[in-house]
């Protein structure tokens, strides 16, 4: 979410040197004036990112943005905020109906509401950077710079780096990749989902194996009637394919529905979001089918090599 915001809004990000989190970063906002004079710079804007109680809401994201960036937030109603005014995200606006709201120790007039393409921003508050600067006692959390062409990104980055020794200049792409919290969140999510998926796969294999074992009597009867091992395994193969593919389709539809619904759940204020790539969906499909077939075919193969009467008796016991 946050990474999406940074990646889509600029090519270069400037943060305070040696600070691990943009929440604690403090960059001199006047640097923007110098940056705007550089060749091949399309635009730049500064932003303060913070969090604070907003009215009766215990915590909400606060985005203090420079004036040239306010239009990034699409007005839903009202107008863009002036000094001592705030614009509420549409999710937050549904919960705060008054004309003004207290943020920190200061009361702000509500100038309107906005929508954003980035879901979690809809749960936040947008204000002028100067108001945010008073609120959080810092000049800017970061400055984002857009180049006229991606070919100039490196050149601009080097020039900005020479302007101040207290800043760190990175392409937004590398920033997102290196940013500790993104990494932690990404790695944790990956490990948790991989573990859950592995357990799910083992569950599938185990259930399929139990199903095959519970059908030993049936296989014994078929073998006694002269049906070949190949006949039994082929039937099981197709049964498993149909069952596991149907289960996969159901799970996929359910996941897509949940992912679609998440940004619209008011309680979550757009902070919980997710996506499912085509590649991931294909990997899940292949793994599901593979584990189902392993869970089915191994016990079926073992069963098919057993004497029919033993299978029948095992099935009865």
């Amino acid at each position: 979410m946050y990474s999406k915001m940074i990646k889509t809004d600029g090519d270069i990000i400037i943060i305070q040197k040696g600070i691990a989190d943009t929440f604690f970063s403090n960059v001199d906002v006047s640097l923007m004036n110098k940056i705007n004079t550089l060749a091949h710079v399309k635009s730049s804007y500064a932003m303060i990112v913070g969090a604070s109680p907003v009215g009766h809401i215990p915590i909400a994201g606060i985005y203090g943005v420079s004036e040239n960036h306010l239009s990034h937030y699409k007005l839903q109603e009202g107008k863009y905020p002036k000094q001592s005014e705030v614009l509420l995200g549409k999710t937050l606006a549904k919960q705060i109906r008054s004309r003004s709201v207290k943020i920190g120790n200061k009361r702000f007039k509500i100038s309107g509401s906005y929508t954003s393409k980035i879901g979690f921003e809809d749960g936040g508050v947008v204000m002028n950077i100067s108001d945010a600067s008073d609120l959080f006692s810092r000049s800017a959390s970061f400055i984002l710079v857009s180049a006229k062409s991606p070919n100039y990104t490196q050149q601009i980055k080097d020039k900005i780096a020479d302007m101040d020794t207290e800043i760190e200049v990175k392409t937004t792409q590398s920033f997102v990749q290196e940013y500790n919290q993104f990494k932690i969140i990404e790695n944790s999510s990956f490990i948790i989902s991989a573990l859950a998926f592995a357990m799910g796969l083992m569950g599938i294999a185990s259930v399929m194996s139990m199903i095959v074992n519970s059908r030993k009597e049936e296989f014994g009867i078929m073998r006694a009637l002269g049906k070949s091992r190949f006949f039994i395994i082929k039937n099981l193969f197709f049964e498993t394919l149909i069952i596991s593919f149907s289960a996969y389709l159901f799970a996929l539809l359910l996941s897509l529905l949940i992912l679609q619904a998440l940004p619209h759940i008011q309680m979550l204020q757009g902070y919980v979001n997710g996506s499912l790539s085509f590649t991931s969906a294909i990997y899940v499909l292949i793994s599901t089918l593979a584990m189902s077939l392993i869970g089915t075919l191994i016990p079926a193969w073992i069963a098919s090599k057993t004497d029919p009467i033993i299978l029948i008796n095992q099935g009865c016991s």
Partner: protein
């Protein structure tokens, strides 16, 4: 036709058959008798190729069973089985249960056989929707559908009343008269009335 040479069998460490040698000829109606636990079912399973003996050799028409390349095809076309508990497949209809055993599309033969056995009206019913006697007749139809050379029946009337018991034995006798070998393992002494030979087992020995 069937020759068993020195067959012994163990379940784990427990020996249930001791050095059994016997010969069964074409058209015989064999009554394999003995008390419960005497080894009748085990011997029947070995004779019908459903169980490999621990030691010894089984020959069918002088060919060792282990030399038959396609044992599944052999079982399907040459052997018919009737079990005490029917062992019909519950999710298949009566017709489908019989058709499952058929070596190829034998629609007319299935209907004729069902008519002969008085179960034609049960075509679309499922095993759990019919009586025990009807199930046993379906099981018989399944065993007879490929006109096998040998029919093995393990306590085929164990769950039937006296009327149905008589019907089953008369039917097996009729099949035997047409040249099919019938081997029935049972502790029911009335099989003797239909059998041409009796083989008695006691504690796994002849």
């Amino acid at each position: 036709m069937i020759e068993a040479k020195g067959i012994s069998h163990f379940y784990g460490k427990e020996q249930v058959l001791y050095d059994i040698s016997l010969q069964i000829n074409r058209g015989d109606f064999i009554f394999l008798s003995g008390e419960s636990g005497s080894g009748k079912s085990t011997l029947l399973s070995i004779l019908s190729t459903l169980l490999n003996p621990s030691t010894g050799e089984l020959l069918l028409d002088e060919t060792p069973i282990k030399d038959i390349k396609d044992i599944d095809n052999f079982r399907q076309n040459k052997i018919g089985f009737v079990f005490q508990f029917h062992y019909l497949i519950n999710y298949l209809s009566v017709y489908e249960n019989i058709a499952l055993a058929a070596s190829n599309n034998k629609k007319d033969e299935i209907y004729n056989l069902m008519h002969e056995l008085g179960i034609l009206g049960l075509t679309q019913r499922y095993p759990n929707e019919i009586s025990g006697g009807q199930r046993q007749r379906v099981s018989l139809a399944r065993a007879l559908i490929n006109n096998p050379c040998i029919i093995f029946a393990d306590e085929p009337t164990g769950s039937l009343d006296s009327m149905h018991t008589r019907i089953v034995y008369e039917l097996l006798s009729k099949v035997c008269n047409k040249g099919t070998t019938v081997v029935v393992a049972s502790h029911d002494e009335q099989v003797k009335n239909y059998a041409t030979h009796t083989i008695r087992l006691k504690d796994g020995k002849l």
